[in-house]
């Protein structure tokens, strides 16, 4: 499998009155062509900022302070804004969480999909409209010719998210970043959107970077999972291995705190404390102050990502390694 995007040592900093906050701190990972990778973590862990950094959509007071993002062999961070515009929305596109605020309320949904096509492809107006209708059909919006003229407020949340997906896929991207694509949707509609994304990923052979806090969504869609905590990657593994042989205590805590159907007995297991704020990181391992299995070494030195098996890495001293 060939590597499509290779993020190396990405660091994104937000300048605040208290100084620079490293919201993404030396993150490295890759996504292969046609692969679905889940990027998981809680609010503030840096998962969305990682996505926005890939799209180069970080604006002041944030800035990308270091690292490389190699996409099809080219470093996106070295491109001019004009060159980047040819990549953004064309070869890499993104679907955001909230479809209502992501769509322009004064243009019809079809027109917004058509615009995305016209922006990147040299086609006539009528041709771009035909393609936009095809895209609406692809994401299974019923009666696409008629719904082309519907405004965002005339559609349900699930339908709006389909329009967003149609727009993102209109230029046949190599990589689709889906940032919490189902979190704002109802339970019954969530399943529909996940199923659609799975099907389109296989059919269009595109890579997907699925950003979510929901491990159940990851279990359904991703073949590999990356877990982030407080700005850095703490575990990375093929999806089955992550669930069956969870290595990092944080991932174990996340999995344990899910209230699962059919498992009703006793109190839920929890992770004590709160996600640390970026200026209050504990010394050593970032998770050490909440970790039920910490020992002395954890608060003196931050562990590296340690290889457990060829594709499984964990940032934890329990996994061995020299310190």
């Amino acid at each position: 499998m060939d590597t499509l995007i290779d993020v190396r040592n990405l660091t994104t900093v937000f300048e605040t009155e208290q100084g620079g906050s490293r919201v993404v701190d030396g993150v490295s990972f890759h996504v292969d062509s046609a692969e679905a990778v889940g990027l998981v973590g809680e609010s503030g862990c840096g998962k969305s900022v990682t996505a926005l950094s890939i799209m180069r959509l970080i604006s002041s007071p944030g800035r990308i302070a270091g690292g490389e993002i190699l996409f099809e062999g080219r470093n996106l961070l070295a491109l001019s804004e004009k060159e980047m515009r040819k990549v953004r929305g064309n070869k890499i596109s993104i679907v955001f969480q909230e479809p209502l605020t992501s769509l322009n309320p004064v243009f019809t949904c079809g027109e917004q999909v058509r615009e995305a096509i016209a922006l990147h492809q040299k086609v006539s107006r009528s041709e771009s409209k035909t393609r936009a209708i095809e895209m609406l059909r692809l994401v299974r919006i019923p009666d696409p010719e008629k719904r082309y003229g519907a405004y965002p407020h005339q559609m349900s949340g699930g339908m709006r998210q389909r329009v967003m997906i149609a727009m993102a896929l209109s230029c046949e991207p190599r990589l689709l970043i889906a940032d919490e694509p189902t979190s704002a949707l109802d339970v019954s509609v969530q399943g529909q959107v996940i199923e659609l994304l799975c099907e389109l990923q296989a059919r269009l052979r595109m890579a997907v970077l699925l950003i979510t806090h929901d491990l159940a969504v990851v279990a359904q869609m991703a073949s590999r999972v990356i877990v982030m905590y407080a700005g850095s990657i703490v575990e990375e593994a093929p999806v089955r291995e992550l669930f069956d042989a969870t290595a990092h205590p944080y991932t174990q805590g996340l999995l344990g705190s899910i209230a699962r159907l059919g498992q009703r007995s006793g109190p839920l297991s929890t992770i004590p404390g709160n996600v640390p704020d970026p200026f209050g990181l504990p010394p050593g391992c970032r998770f050490s102050d909440r970790c039920p299995r910490r020992f002395e070494k954890c608060s003196s030195a931050e562990p590296p990502l340690i290889d457990i098996s060829p594709a499984h890495r964990s940032r934890c001293w329990l996994c061995g390694g020299r310190g």
Partner: protein
Amino acid sequence: MNILEAQGIRKYYRSSAGLFFVTSPVVRAVDGVDLTLEKGKTVGLVGESGCGKSTLARVLIRLEEPTEGSIRLGGADFLALRGGELRKARRRIQMVFQDPYSSLNPRLSIGSTIAEGIRIHKLARGAEVKERVSRLLEKVGLPSSASAKYPHEFSGGQRQRIGIARALAVEPEVLIADEPVSALDVSIRAQIINLLEDLQTEMGLTYLFIAHDLGIVEHVSDVVVVMYCGKVVEQAPTGDIFREPLHPYTAGLIASVPVADPALARARAAIPGDVPSPVNLPSGCAFNPRCPRVMDICRIERPDLIQLGAGRLVRCWIHQKKA
């Protein structure tokens, strides 16, 4: 013993009359709901956005007056109360809101927020108020030093603890929790659920727990009530409803819960389509356009809520014929 009995609750809203239309459509947000809360037990109220679950909660604590129906709180007619008597009765039923950010006054210290109810209901005076506030904070797992701080100094999970302390300050018997954990991070959700369960055991509280996360509902509830388009479609003891859901909507909701296990996971779109528009409900059973087991009669006539076995209610023609 039943602490709260609501019967035939209806709440209709007239959607704003359009500029050019003389007749404005009526939204039946809650359309004839009976609900009983038994002392010390938890009723889980489930449904998708727009099903009327939050409106019902607001009617039950008289933030909204029902269009029709009766509510008995501890045997007395709650809806007949006015002025001072109403204020006295409000103490017995309190609410915890979904969003811990917007539901706390940013200009009030935590101590003042919690003390407000104690003062209004004259439950304590002078130094005793402060002492009560400290005790409440301790009860919800916060240090008493939190009293002098302001909401922005706390994380989402801590704010939700403050919201719970505020609700408990007036020594209520019934707590209505409207999506109390859906705005929180995964690792924090379990903490709040465990806290609510501990408080229930300790203080003998009665809960109405509103949520869309079925895993959590199964975990906390004794009885589950499922609403769709303003009506109860199924009600049953928790064990029964998850083992053998009778209504196709309940079955679909359960099947569409993503499973956090890649071995079992597959993308599921168990219920096709979207929740219908509240101003334009389908004729007959409101669920019929999405129902996999739809029959002719479902499109014509509305099914009644009928009893099938102990504590099991269902509104569906499939079961109506057998009954």
